[in-house]
Amino acid sequence: MNIAVCVKHVPDPNLPMEMDGTRLKRAGVQGVLDPGDEFGVEAALQIKEGHGADVTLVSMGPEASSEALRRGLSMGADRAILVSDGALEGADALATARVLQRAIERTKPDLVVAAVESTDGYTGTMPAALAQFMGWPQVTFATQVEIKDRTLRAHRQTTTGYHVVECELPVMITVTAGINEPRYASFKGIMAAKKKPLERLALADLGLSAVDVRPAQEIVELSKAEEHRSGQVIVDEGEAAGRVAAFLREAKVI
């Protein structure tokens, strides 16, 4: 079985984010393998360990993205593909999906794994577009996956519980954070990763040109999310209970 995992190199989410116009500042910022993608890599590795599989990591981004791929390889993935091309600067989710589809098709996959959304752009639309381009069904928000014969069985997170769904391979899945506990790279894994194949491709290698990846959307404005307002503190001077009750009535809680 061949598994392709979509991974992304993102600015370290533990560091403060800086904007550059309507785009996230990336130059000179410490990048990491998107923490959300670690769950996808781990899910693929667990399937590999259970059934035997060849796991390919696929990423689109500048050369620095090879760091994220190396991290995934040191966890245990077998090979990696990085699509880098000047024409891809500023690509949107749709263009990314088109590029990844072409790259992923080269691996003849039975299963494609992605995180629900990236930890930088947060559009959450790339996996759906990718499934569409592949012409495959997709199972989203997986919190548990198993494969039996050629059937995938997954738990899909919902707001109140989960669905159990089954789907024939090939299929595209998105996995949630918490589906597993991603492993830490060992020294041996890190050394082994240095010898694993990392294929670098440009747009032309995928039969695409700059016209095919023109952004379909434009971000016209960005603004900060409203910060959580601090709560109201009621100091008890004999009438606190009444004030709490009034507050709750106003909120239509009681």
Binding site: R71, S74, R183, F187, I190
Partner: protein
Amino acid sequence: MDFDLADEQHDFVRSLRSFVDDVIRPRAEAWDESHELPLEAVEQMASLGLFGLPFPERYGGSGADFLTLCLAIEEIARVDSSLAITLEAAVSLGAMPIYLFGTEEQKSRWLPPLAAGEALAGFGLTEPGGGSDAGATRTSARLADGHWLINGSKSFITNSGTAITSFVTVTAVTGTRDGDKEISAFIVPTGTAGFQVGKDYRKMGWWHSDTHELSFSDCRVPEDHLLGSKGEGFRNFLRILDDGRIAIAALAVGLAQGCLDESLRYASDRTAFGRPIGSFQGLQFKLADMAMKVELARGAYYRASWLKQQGRPYRKEACMAKLFASESAVDVARDAVQIHGGYGYIEEFPVCRHFRDSKILEIGEGTSEIMRVLIARELGLTGS
């Protein structure tokens, strides 16, 4: 000159830092309260290959260099000195003598479980009557009927009494040579008749590392349990101690770095007289000194490791690294408690534990006084 770590070392430190922050940090305090080595932590560290780092893959190791081991010890010590010393003692005192001085048969029998972290081994050198004066060893071993008969006792032996301890390497007098005691080393498996593991010490720090007094009374081990050539035990163990000193320096740097990180955070969060206490020059000077000691101690152990790996003499540099790093760790931990004020004196704040854990660094694997004696000797001074 190149002061950068290799790419793989850099990646490994990053991976290990996430492991330490996610897995060890949240439990370090509770483990310490339990006064017992948490075997689940050993298992998790083993899954990262930490116990086999410097050994070749054919013995189940990772084939890393000695500096990489030290980097791992430093990372763990930022958060948990007990686990850092467990790793240090397991690798550089428990497994290393087998790797360096064992026969091929001894290596293939004893090393793989140690490298996998499935077993631990102790290093029995110090005795109740003497630590640094290794030549004053009183434990004896006598060959009779194809077996060594060992009698004596050992003190403060790390990893000697855990549920997964497979053996202890013990030094013993096997005769005299040119008027001096002839010392040899022996592998004594756990459970050998006559080998008694005493109860755990009540220590000032390192509460969840495993430390015992051991006694041997007519303890019989087969003749092939001699480790290294007969009479070479003392010389061999001096070499083990040189390396151990660099590893202890790494541990001290980790502890000091942990104290510095906690102190920087506290100094920016805590306010007094309407502003963060870190904005007062008195504290800034203290923090600057702490940071300087951490950096210089780290440079010292990096260089000692590098000399060792280059195959060049490194005893003086190992002693200096151990001496400077351990004294710096005690200074930095004391200042960290001071910066935390009353909170530094209660166990909920890690610097309290770090302070308790720091003092032993000036004592274990060669006291500060012995370090100075050895450095003076390397300078060509005689008489002490």
